[in-house]
Symmetry: C2
Subunit: 279 residues, 2 copies
Amino acid sequence: MIWVDGTLLPRRRARIDPTDRGFTLGDGLFETLAAENGKPLHVADHLARLSRGADELGIPMPFEAGEIAAAMAELMKANELTQGLAALRVTLSRGVGARGLLPPESPSPTLVIAAAHRVAAPETLSAALVEIRRNEGSPLSRLKSLNYLDNVLAQQAAVRAGAEEALMLNNKGRVVGFARGNIFALIGDGLMTPPLADGVLDGITRHRLIRLAGRLGLNMAEHSLDLADLDRARGLLVTNSLLGAVPLARLDRRALSVPPALAQLVSLHRRDEMSEAGH
Amino acid sequence: MIWVDGTLLPRRRARIDPTDRGFTLGDGLFETLAAENGKPLHVADHLARLSRGADELGIPMPFEAGEIAAAMAELMKANELTQGLAALRVTLSRGVGARGLLPPESPSPTLVIAAAHRVAAPETLSAALVEIRRNEGSPLSRLKSLNYLDNVLAQQAAVRAGAEEALMLNNKGRVVGFARGNIFALIGDGLMTPPLADGVLDGITRHRLIRLAGRLGLNMAEHSLDLADLDRARGLLVTNSLLGAVPLARLDRRALSVPPALAQLVSLHRRDEMSEAGH
């Protein structure tokens, strides 16, 4: 079952108009949320980010946060996802439009919510540096827009290289993060993550990790990183809403360990997620 | 009426699956063609480019070129577009996929063809330089992928600045072209257009213009351009499949004239299009 514009219905009967600008131009945004035992995690943070992005693109939000949260609950129930781990995806597009780039003056946006099972995150992950660069010169690099084909190609390149995550640089050669997550690097005794201006997705888990690192008394900074900085790093994390915070065990041919400071942060984040999930 | 996966049907009954990767990730490509009196122009060139792009992305073409051309004819007839000017759009997506970035192993692509009226191109156009950069570090900058939201934002910025076309640079500050077309600059007695490596869309009209410039004996070169080069330019053209080749009458606050060499090229291109259309 899938939820489309206020109606819950079997996926095979659900319909997007072929002239929807989400389909024709990637004109929209999405959110991916983890859910546990029927409870979506950090739903307010995700819907606030979606709403900020929609403001930036000039897409009116067609439903209130409360309606979207209720839809998620109804959808998980209908798909028997109220026990264990699930993933939710909220997709907002600008809706149907005439030919051409310019949006209609009064858009009638499309909102889709889908739910699926997910498995628990692994203890560690591997990554490979890929060639495709992220566009620091576009506001879309900071938004979860429907323009995700660069990330698809990057992820495919990483898998071809025998890795699980794709490390991406921007056009200046600065580290941006992974095709499906943000990056944190422990360098000396400082924990660093690149600033949004480098073309970094404004990640919900990235925000939470920055705050949790402060709670642990880590020397946390948003700072541009290049590959030489990663070479010096004592440990690296990949973070996103489904994985949480996962240390890298390998970047290209280099094996990485998990220094105590990172292990502590990962474990604090896990406890924080469990408390959010109501354990 | 719209054509979806082999069937011609009323748009309101046509359906894209909400989990189609064209909608969820912009995972696909499109082509826009001009048609005149029911004849699509340069259909072989457009379908060859679509097929090359699909190869590059690993999307199998679900229909033969002949079937697509027949569908275009049927669609224009059904929409009473066999007289006068029309625009056709062919959209290819990788089709339905499970959650996540990685495509299914055996994708079942979606192909949509839409047709609409269009008006004749104006004699001249105006342009404004916009802030959003094109990503020279991604292969998508050279393909007409469904990731077109940067172009949408650029076009909106140009319109806000009182112009009709959005001039875009890449992250190195090099000129790429317009949000909806390629650029040609007459500098001294040389006609220049930026190389694909600068993040330039591999335009069908761009190719034709390069060949036609050769026929006119113009000193034609693919060469990187920066804003200082455009300041020195004696004239500028915007080119795409619907507009053809149109001189700029204004770039930001600078008025531009149309030197005889550009007027000749525009007129040769127009004759070439008319002969393609069967006049």
